[in-house]
Amino acid sequence: MGRFHRHDDGTQHDHEHDHEHDHGDHRGYATGTERIEVLEAIFAENDNRAEINRTAFESNGIRALNLMSSPGSGKTTVLAGTLDALAGEFAVGIVEGDIATDLDAAKLGGRGAQISLLNTSNGFGGECHLDASMVHRALDGLDLPALDLVIIENVGNLVCPAEFDVGEHAKAMVYSVTEGEDKPLKYPVMFRSVDVLLLNKIDLIPHLDADVDTYISRVREVNPGARILPVSARTGEGMNEWFDWLREFARPR
């Protein structure tokens, strides 16, 4: 049985497990079965690769943000407004994750950022999240030494992206009020994982049955520590607080 692993010098390969071991006293095992203690995290390989990405960011003085949300929450509109406001202050790279199409990449083009498009499929269906090795590949499309901040726009999905470290320094999410105030309770793993949450589309609150405080208290139930920023990416309301958060986050350290 081959086993994939990595050495300290960065090389990696498989071994055939064909040599003899002494695994101690087996007199209790009349069946000839031996138990091998493993205690290995199933996400270990992803986590190792995430660490490689993080090292690549840090050796280039970059801060990286993993931006997640459901489909249609306004992530790309938030990013477009963010680039318009901040692309003159620091050099931004975007990893644009989508199952298919370059529509979002096109929307973000011409706003002063480097963009690396990462489609998780070529044609029909594909991964519902980004993992560390996909992001690693996308970094080839960015000139890292020239960048200060990389924002990884994950695939729109409230489930799987929460499980995969991609090498970021913080996780952010966009949660729009039209998704309903119950979503933090239905997708607690995602909501609990983030450091900052943009409560988007607050310009639509007058047309809904819940007020902003209700959304905030639902988020607080699953994630009391997150920074919550009510915004409307469409009107620009509240976006300055988000820009300030990003300025502080992207500050070289």
């Binding site: 138990r35 493993v38 205690l39 199933i42 996400f43 799987c160 607690p188 793993v189 009391p224």
Partner: protein, 87 residues
């Protein structure tokens, strides 16, 4: 036999995992290979009241004794292969 620990706070669906196991097992021609899932309940340590308790809520990790949300998750995020029996 492969033993896997699954924490309550992971988004792992035991039935799906068991079903996928049967496909991989048959594909690898190891019809006798078994998967044993060990479920780990979530437990939090509360900074408010100092108590450590198991949580039953499906979404909130707040302390079940004092409702404080200022907690550290002690158990429940496991997703580990703990051991393998080789015959």
């Amino acid at each position: 036999m492969v033993r896997v620990q699954v924490g309550a706070l992971r988004q792992v669906v035991p039935d799906s995992l068991a079903f996928c196991w049967t496909i991989v097992r048959d594909d690898e021609n190891m019809a006798d290979a078994e998967l044993e899932l060990e479920f780990v309940a979530a437990e939090v340590a509360c900074r408010g009241c100092g108590q450590q308790s198991e949580i039953e809520s499906r979404w909130s990790v707040a302390c079940p004794r004092c409702q404080s949300a200022d907690v550290a998750v002690v158990r429940g995020e496991e997703f580990l292969v703990t051991s393998v029996d080789v015959t």
